[in-house]
C-alpha cells in the first residue's frame, strides 16, 4: 500500500511541476474527441436512421404476399419489437358512374412506427401532421381522387363491399413506394375494415408489409432468425437496401467519421509517445536511485505503470466528460438543422471513449515506459549510462496493433485492415530510410555552409535517431490532418454536386406519347427545367442465356428484387447523362436487339457482355444481347434505368413517357394546372424527400467541420510534445554555447533553421504520403473520384516549416533567457 502511496505522490508532484502536462493534454484530447465522435456519430446515426427509417415507416419490414406465420410476430413480441401492418392492393372504385383504379392501403393502429402522415382538409397549405392512420369506418384519400370520382370530403366511399366516410385528404405518407409506374392514387383505410371490404381472399393480389421497430440488437437478431425461414415470395426491407441513395451518403459519412476519429487518435498517440519518451528520459536518474536503494526491476515497472494507469483513468474520465459536453454543444449548435427528436446519447459510446483512452495510453506510452525497467542502478555513479531504447518492434507493433483494432472496428473488414496496416508499415519503413538518406545527404553539404546554418543543421544530425522520429511524428500528424481536411472538402463538394439546388424535385409519369410534345412545351413555357423524356415499357426479365433467372439469383439481393417485379425498360440513342460505360461500348449504329445493363444489377445477376437476355412484355417475348454495362448514380433524382435498349428494339410496344423537373416552391400551383390538363399523368412530388435528404447532408457537413478542430488540437499537442522531447538537451547545449560566447541572435537563428528544416522535411513527406493515401482511399473505400491537388504540395511543407519553426522557437525560448550558469548547474 505504501508503494502505491509513493506512486500517487510521485504522480501528483510530477503533474504539479508540469512534467506531465503534454501527456495529459494529449490523452484528454484523444479521449475527448473519440468520446465526442463516438457519442456524436452514434446519436447522429440513430437520429438519421430514425429519419431514414421514416421512408420505410419502420426499421425493418417484411414484405409478403400473404400474412406471415403467427410465430414470427410472437418472436418479434418476445424481442420487444413494436409492430404494425399494412396491406396494399389495387381496387377499382366506382362512384357517380366514374371508374378509378386506386391503390388501397389498410393500416393497423400503430402505423406508422417511424415518421408521420400529413393530411389536409382543404388546400395544400394547411397540412396536419398525424402519427396514426384513419379510424375505423373512415377513409383518407389522395386529392386527385375527389375530382376524378366527383366526391367531396365527408362523402361516403365504397371500397369493395364496405362503405366508408372520407374524412381527410392525405398528402404525405412516409413509406410510399418509389415504383412509379404502378402508382395509382391512394386510399388509406383502417386495418379493422379490411375484412369487411371482402377484397382480400385467397388468391387475391395483396402486398402485406409487416413493420417493426426496436433496439438495433433485437432487430438484428430478428433479421438473423427470420432470414432462413423466408419463402421465395417474401423479403426483408431495411433502409440500406431500400434507399440506396441515402444509404450511400450515410455510409460515406460514417466512414469519414471513423477515419477522422482514427486520425485524431493516431495524432494524439504520437504526442503521447513523444511526451512519455521525454518523461522516461527525465526519470532515468530517479529510477537509477530507486534501483540503487533496492527496487527490483518489476517494482520499478509497477511503480511507473501504476502511475500511468491512475493518470490514464483520470485523464480518460476528464476526456469522457469533456467529450460529452462537446457532443452536447455540437447538437446544440446544430439544433436548427436537426429533427426535433434526437436519439439519446448512448452510454456505450462513453464507455468506448474510456476504453480508447486506456488503449491509446497502453499502445503509445508503454513501450517508452518499459525503458525505465532497464535503467541500470550503476547510473547513480556513471550518469552517461543510458538504458537501451525499447525495441522498435515493440514501439511500432503495439501502437499499430491498437490502431489496427480501431480500423477494424470502423471498417469491419479484416482484409482491408491488414492491407492498410501493411501498407502503413511499409511506408513507415521506407520513410525512415528516406529521412536517414536525406539527413546524410545534407550532412555532406555542411562544411560549405555558413556558421549559423551549420549549427542549425547540426542540431538535426547530432541525434539523427531523435530527428527521424520527430520528422516521422510531424509527418504522420500532418498526413492525418491533410487527410481529414481534404476528404472533408471533397466529400462536401461531392454532396453538393450530387444535389444541386435545382435538382429535379418532381417526376411526371405515364405521359402518353400523344401528349408528350404538349407537356414538354408546357414546362418550357413556365421556364421549368426538366430532364430528358424517356419512353417506358414495362417488362420482366425472365431468362439469361436460356436459364430462368429464378435459378440464378441469390436471396435478398438487388437481382432478386429486380426479377420479382416488372422493370421499366427504356431505349435511347444517346447515353443518358450521369451514366458511365464501365464495360463494352455504347451503340453507335441503329442496330436493334441490344441492351445496356446497370452495373450492380449485372453483378448481382452475373450478367456479362454478350449474354442473351429474354424479357416478357405483356404476353410477348423479346431477346436482347448485352453490349455494355453502365454505372449510374442513383442519387441524382433523375429517371434511372436498369435496362436501356438500343432504338428499334421496343418501339413496337405500347409505351408512356417519364421525366423529372425542378419546380420551385412558389410555382407549386402549376401542379394543379398540370394535373387538370393531363389527367392520365401522375405527378410525383419528391421535394419533401429531397429536402430531408439535404438536411441530412447539411448535418453531416457540420459535424465533419467540427471534427477537424479535434484533429487540429491533437496536432498542436504533437507539435509541443515533439519540441519538448529534446528540450532539455537543447537548453543545456544552448547554455553551453552561450558560456562559450555564442550570442543570442546566433542561437535564435540556429533554432529557427533547425526547427523549420524539421517542419519542411516533414511537410514534404506528408504530402507524398497523403496523396498516396487519398488516392487509395478514394478509389478503394470512399468510392469517389481522385484529383491530385497541386496546392497541397506548396501549402503543406510551408505550413510545416512555419508552425514547427514557431513552436520550436517558443519552446526553447528559455535557452535565450535563463542564466546559463543556472542551467548548467541544474543539469548536473
Amino acid at each position: 500500500m505504501s508503494r502505491f502511496n509513493l506512486a500517487l505522490r510521485l504522480l501528483w508532484r510530477d503533474s504539479r511541476t508540469g512534467e506531465l502536462t503534454i501527456l495529459i493534454l494529449a490523452l484528454v484530447i484523444a479521449v475527448t474527441s473519440s468520446t465526442a465522435i463516438a457519442l456524436f456519430s452514434d446519436r447522429m446515426k440513430r437520429t438519421m436512421t430514425n429519419q431514414t427509417a421514416e421512408f420505410l415507416a419502420a426499421d425493418l419490414v417484411i414484405e409478403s404476399p400473404a400474412p406471415v406465420p403467427a410465430e414470427w410476430l410472437a418472436k418479434a413480441m418476445k424481442l420487444d419489437l413494436a409492430q404494425a401492418r399494412t396491406a396494399d392492393f389495387s381496387s377499382v372504385l366506382i362512384e357517380h358512374d366514374e371508374l378509378l383504379l386506386a391503390g388501397i392501403k389498410a393500416v393497423s393502429a400503430a402505423y406508422p412506427l417511424r415518421g408521420f402522415l400529413k393530411t389536409t382538409t382543404g388546400d395544400y397549405l394547411t397540412e396536419t401532421i398525424t402519427r396514426n392512420g384513419p379510424e375505423k369506418g373512415t377513409a383518407w384519400v389522395e386529392k386527385r381522387i375527389l375530382p376524378a370520382l366527383k366526391l367531396n370530403l365527408g362523402d361516403p366511399l365504397t371500397v369493395g363491399e364496405k362503405q366508408l366516410t372520407i374524412s381527410n385528404i392525405i398528402s404525405y405518407e412516409p413509406d410510399k413506394k418509389g415504383d412509379f409506374y404502378s402508382f395509382s392514387p391512394r386510399v388509406m383505410i383502417n386495418d379493422a375494415d379490411l375484412q369487411a371490404t371482402g377484397i382480400v381472399q385467397p388468391g387475391s393480389h395483396v402486398h402485406y408489409f409487416f413493420q417493426f421497430t426496436g433496439e438495433p440488437k433485437a432487430l438484428a437478431e430478428f433479421k438473423r432468425w427470420l432470414k432462413p425461414q423466408l419463402n421465395p415470395s417474401q423479403r426483408i426491407l431495411d433502409i440500406n437496401e431500400d434507399r440506396p441513395e441515402l444509404g450511400s451518403a450515410l455510409e460515406r459519412a460514417e466512414r469519414y467519421l471513423g477515419l477522422s476519429s482514427i486520425a485524431v487518435i493516431l495524432i494524439s498517440g504520437v504526442a503521447i509517445a513523444m511526451a512519455t519518451r521525454r518523461y522516461t528520459e527525465r526519470h532515468f536518474n530517479a529510477t537509477a536511485l530507486l534501483r540503487c536503494l533496492g527496487c527490483k526491476q518489476n517494482e520499478i515497472l509497477w511503480l511507473y505503470s501504476s502511475q500511468f494507469v491512475v493518470l490514464g483513468l483520470v485523464a480518460s474520465a476528464v476526456g469522457c466528460l469533456l467529450g460529452w459536453f462537446a457532443q452536447e454543444a455540437l447538437f446544440h449548435l446544430l439544433r436548427g438543422l436537426l429533427p426535433q427528436q434526437i436519439a439519446s446519447p448512448g452510454l456505450l459510446a462513453v464507455f468506448f471513449g474510456f476504453i480508447i483512452g486506456m488503449a491509446v495510453l497502453l499502445g503509445f506510452a508503454l513501450p517508452p515506459l518499459l525503458r525505465l525497467k532497464q535503467v541500470s542502478p550503476l547510473r547513480v555513479l556513471r550518469r552517461e549510462l543510458e538504458p537501451l531504447p525499447s525495441s522498435a518492434w515493440l514501439i511500432y507493433g503495439l501502437s499499430l496493433g491498437i490502431i489496427g483494432i480501431l480500423i477494424w472496428k470502423y471498417t469491419g473488414d479484416l482484409k482491408m485492415t491488414a492491407s492498410i496496416l501493411g501498407t502503413g508499415l511499409m511506408t513507415l519503413l521506407a520513410l525512415g530510410l528516406l529521412i536517414y538518406g536525406l539527413l546524410n545527404l545534407t550532412r555532406k553539404l555542411l562544411p560549405s555552409m555558413s556558421l549559423t546554418w551549420r549549427f542549425g543543421l547540426q542540431g538535426l544530425f547530432r541525434n539523427s535517431r531523435a530527428s527521424v522520429s520527430q520528422i516521422l511524428a510531424f509527418s504522420l500528424t500532418l498526413v492525418a490532418m491533410v487527410l481529414s481536411f481534404t476528404v472533408r472538402t471533397d466529400l462536401i463538394d461531392n454532396w453538393q454536386n450530387q444535389l444541386p439546388n435545382n435538382a429535379p424535385n418532381h417526376f411526371a409519369l405515364n405521359i402518353f406519347p400523344a401528349q408528350r410534345a404538349a407537356f414538354q412545351q408546357e414546362l418550357q413555357l413556365q421556364h421549368i427545367t426538366g430532364s430528358q423524356f424517356f419512353p417506358v415499357v414495362r417488362g420482366r426479365l425472365v431468362e439469361i442465356n436460356h436459364t430462368p433467372v429464378q435459378q440464378i439469383v441469390s436471396k435478398d439481393t438487388q437481382g432478386e428484387n429486380a426479377t420479382h417485379r416488372e422493370l421499366s425498360l427504356t431505349w435511347t440513342k444517346e447515353l443518358p447523362e450521369e451514366n458511365k460505360i464501365v464495360a463494352g461500348s455504347w451503340w453507335n449504329n441503329q442496330q436493334a436487339g441490344l441492351v445496356s445493363v446497370e452495373q450492380k444489377l449485372a453483378e448481382s445477376l452475373k450478367i456479362k457482355l454478350g449474354d442473351l437476355l429474354k424479357f416478357t412484355v405483356g404476353s410477348q417475348q423479346i431477346n436482347a444481347t448485352v453490349t455494355s454495362i453502365r454505372k449510374l448514380r442513383w442519387d441524382t433524382m433523375k429517371p434511372n434505368f436498369y435496362m436501356i435498349f438500343s432504338p428499334g428494339t421496343l418501339d413496337a410496344y405500347p409505351s408512356t413517357f417519364i421525366t423529372s423537373f425542378y419546380l420551385p416552391e412558389p410555382q407549386k400551383n402549376m401542379l394543379n394546372t398540370l394535373v387538370k390538363k393531363y389527367p392520365g399523368t401522375t405527378i410525383l412530388e419528391v421535394d419533401f424527400i429531397l429536402q430531408q435528404f439535404k438536411t441530412i447532408l447539411a448535418q453531416l457537413t457540420q459535424a465533419i467541420n467540427y471534427l477537424l478542430y479535434f484533429a487540429l488540437m491533437a496536432g498542436f499537442a504533437v507539435l509541443f510534445a515533439a519540441v519538448y522531447a529534446t528540450l532539455d538537451n537543447r537548453i543545456y547545449e544552448g547554455a553551453l554555447m552561450r558560456t562559450l560566447g555564442a550570442n543570442r541572435s546566433l542561437l535564435r537563428k540556429t533554432h529557427i533553421i533547425e526547427f523549420s528544416m524539421l517542419g519542411l522535411i516533414s511537410g514534404l513527406l506528408a504530402v507524398v504520403i497523403s496523396e498516396a493515401i487519398i488516392y487509395a482511399l478514394y478509389t478503394q473505400v470512399m468510392d469517389m473520384e481522385y484529383r491530385p491537388s497541386l496546392y497541397l504540395w506548396a501549402v503543406i511543407p510551408c505550413t510545416g516549416a512555419l508552425f514547427v519553426g514557431m513552436a520550436g522557437c517558443w519552446g526553447v525560448r528559455h535557452v535565450l533567457n535563463k542564466s546559463s550558469l543556472r542551467i548548467l548547474r541544474e543539469q548536473y
Binding site: Q297, L381, Y828
Partner: protein, 229 residues
Amino acid sequence: MQTQVNQTSNNIIVTENLGKSVVTSEGTLHILSSIDLIIKSGESIAIVGESGSGKSTLISLLAGLDTPSTGSISINGKQLTSMNEDGRAALRNELIGFVFQSFQLLHSLTALENVMLPLELSGDKHAKAAATALLHRVGLSHRLTHTPKQLSGGEQQRVALARAFVTKPAILFADEPTGNLDSKTGATIVDLLFELNLENHTTLILVTHDHTLAARCQRTIQLDSGCMV
C-alpha cells in the same frame, strides 16, 4: 530494521581476484584487475587514487551495482556473483547505504519523503517517525517539507546522509561525498558522517581524493590504473 550480521566470521566483504574489463572500440579496457580485499565488519576504509583509477568502479562492484568480469565478491557470507539483479537489489535494500558526490535526491519529493523512501521501499510501517528522527539528528528538523531545490548543497548532502543511515545499513558506500561542496561545508558533512558511522557501527567504504579525510579512516586502499598498490 535489524541487520543480520554473520556471526561465525567477522569479515563482511571478501573479494578474490576481482576484475572488471569492458570492450571498447579500441579493444578490451581493463579498468580493474586482481583486487583481493577483506573488509571486517565495522571497519572504515578509504579508497584513494587519481581520477580514472577505478575507484567508482570498485565500489560499484562491491555494492552490487555492477557485475565483475572476473573473480568473486561475498558480502556477509553471500556470494554476490551468483545472484541475479533482483537478488542484488534485495541485498542492497537490506544491507547497503549510499552517499554520492551529487547528492542524488529525488527532486519531486520533500526532504522528509526522500529520507522515508528506502524505508517505504522495504515496506516499513514506521518510516515517517524514523525519517523525522534522523533529519533531526542531521540538524534539518525545520526543513522537513522543503524540496531539494530549496536546499543548499550542504543541506542536500545532509538529507542524503539521513537517507543513507535511516535503514541502519551494515555497509555504507560514499563516493567523494564532499566533492561538490566547499571545504567548510565539506568538513561539517564529514564530521556528521563519521559521527553517524560510529553511532550505527556501520562498515564505511569511502572514496576520496582528500588525504586528511582518508587519514580519518582505519585503513586506506590506494588504486592506480585499476590495481591495488
